[in-house]
Symmetry: C2
Subunit: 371 residues, 2 copies
């Protein structure tokens, strides 16, 4: 059976730089000397942190100090550390977008947190709704421990929060003295000129923790991510690590590969993935009866698709699965796990042929499952 | 100032196979194809798990099924996962050797556990004391959640628990229905023929979780370890992972390096480290007034040294530090953190010259700080 892998957020597999990484390993490993016989410490391999700090400076204008960066096993370890730090007891609340990354929702629920979803519009989290959510939680004695936000290429909706709203978000966080965890893991997957500075660069008052990842531009099999934030919180979060620190071997190879090749690598993979995104836009647009509306993200790896309200999302998913179509249900990203008439399509991993053939098949599934 | 690094348990830095790992990366990475663009899953790169399973079969006679191995960030992540799984609430008890690995003591305290130390003799944990500790904890409503044991090349004492006592330990664990976590992280650092089968291979009734590490034979900067155990506990522990799984890049390079080279690598590094161990024995033996007694471990990376009871261990440590001598205090390994008149010397990392010169200097420090 043909397969149509539109489910998981993975980069293009054929552009993965296996040879480039191998060459990087060949150059850097002999230079490391006895460094691999040492514990890496909770921050990890310093040249990689320096490279990420420089990269951030070039992209965002602001700075992440090298000593305030800690490398982690993908960004998932960073995401989890935030809850381990801020959530003190079961039932403590965390505010996030009403639709958010399913991995984060699962991890924070495992930490025992109560999640509060803030409705979104085309510009991301709504600020009136954020104020309301904070007031309401605080009124019942559950002042939120932090706000988790995907303000750049929101997952799953693809939206970009405009600068004014970012400032408003930080003002609200500051006013209520609530930290903000900014998950910036899609920052380098960008297909159109649309840069908006990250929260941590524009902030001067609220507490912002910042998370990034190489999973979207290199591959999640490499498990390389990092977080940054102000002292003393940064060091206190580091103290929660229980893994002896991040692999120097892993970090050193990534460092060497990206040291001179980052710009070229991004141009190459983003070019390839943009073509897939554009084809998905085109194919989705050919079936307006099945795909009533869909997002047109300028970055990230996902398109958020509105189905007809009458769609039986459960039987539709089963039918798609039986035809080899893998996608993510809206429910998986809904903080309260409702059966919403949405689905999320990932466009990085599938081939152009799979998109060309799979989207019309998916439209058939949707239309065949109207209640 | 000269330095005498006898503190941390690290392998010989000069024998680290940087070139071998680089060659391994060069061979394996082009073969991985798009695999690095996939999430590794909670078990991690299968060929590495297969290699570790085969290795275990050759060394121990028994088997660790490939599907019941999960690769982790060093063995520390494995050690921590055990407490995250078994410890349900603060104050739950864990039984361990009275002197045990300081990293484990710290990690388990962070999980909120109450640690119960079982006295050791030259053959490891004393079984009469284990029975007594279990009964006493159970009588006060705190039946231990698990027994954490370093039965092979115990850290810090270097002892090896004989087969009969291992069987007795498992009988006691079975009788009281308490799981055993066997930290086997030194299993491959062996300098004399002294093999005793691991608990997980001789066990047929008690629940045994088994932990191994590459940190002692390759380097802690590589952060590669794993654990195994019976179902359904194994899968339930996997579900506690919050890091998106272990790095395929890291694991694939280690796999390729060890695929054909493990036996030679072990012969080479263990030969180098044995020479250091033997020199440390010799130098310690020349100062019986300072080093009243010391262990003569057949494996592992540490010698446990008894100082005169009158030693002021705090001022002695300060004096040693001022002369560049780094060692670990007995207190760091004591479950109740007492100022015991012991210290632990690591013999893998320092050079022969540093041992030759440093041990007499350390003897001076000890003798100068008698109360």
């Amino acid at each position: 059976m043909n397969s149509y892998p539109f489910g998981s957020g993975r980069p293009d597999p054929n552009s993965f730089p296996n040879r480039g990484l191998a060459d990087a390993a060949m150059r850097i490993l002999p230079e490391l000397g006895g460094e691999l016989a040492l514990y890496p410490g909770p921050r990890g391999y310093e040249p990689m942190r320096k490279l990420m700090s420089d990269r951030f400076e070039r992209r965002e204008g602001g700075g992440l100090p090298v000593d305030q960066i800690s490398l982690t096993t993908g960004s998932m370890q960073s995401v989890t550390l935030m809850a381990q730090y801020f959530v003190e007891k079961p039932g403590d609340t965390i505010i996030m977008e009403e639709f958010s990354y399913s991995g984060t929702i699962g991890a924070y629920k495992k930490e025992g947190a109560e999640l509060i979803g803030v409705p979104l519009d085309e510009d991301g989290m709504r600020m009136d709704a954020l104020e309301e959510a904070i007031s309401s939680a605080t009124a019942r004695g559950k002042k939120p421990k932090f706000i988790y936000a995907l303000v750049t290429y929101q997952n799953p909706t693809g939206s970009i929060m405009p600068l004014d709203r970012r400032k408003e978000l930080l003002d609200i966080a500051h006013k209520h003295d609530i930290p903000v965890v900014e998950d910036h893991c899609y920052a380098d997957t960008v297909y159109e000129d649309c840069h908006v500075p990250s929260l941590i660069t524009i902030d001067h008052e609220a507490t912002v923790l910042h998370i990034e990842s190489l999973s979207k531009i290199l591959g999640p099999g490499v498990r390389e991510g990092y977080f940054s934030g102000p002292e003393p919180i940064f060091s206190e979060i580091l103290a929660l690590r229980r893994d002896g620190g991040p692999s120097t071997l892993n970090a050193a190879i990534c460092y060497e590969f990206f040291r001179e090749g980052l710009v070229d690598h991004l141009a190459s993979i983003n070019g390839i993935v943009k073509e897939k995104r554009d084809l998905m836009f085109k194919k989705l647009g050919e079936h307006p009866d099945a795909f009533e509306w869909f997002s047109r993200p300028k970055g990230g790896l996902f398109i958020w698709v509105k189905l007809p309200d009458a769609t039986d999302v459960i039987t539709c998913e089963q039918a798609a699965e039986s035809r080899g179509i893998d996608y993510a249900t809206g429910k998986a990203f809904h903080v309260y796990h409702d059966d919403v008439p949405y689905l999320r399509l990932a466009f990085g991993y599938a081939t152009l042929d799979q998109i060309e053939e799979g989207i019309p098949l998916l439209a058939e599934c949707v239309l065949e499952h109207q209640g």
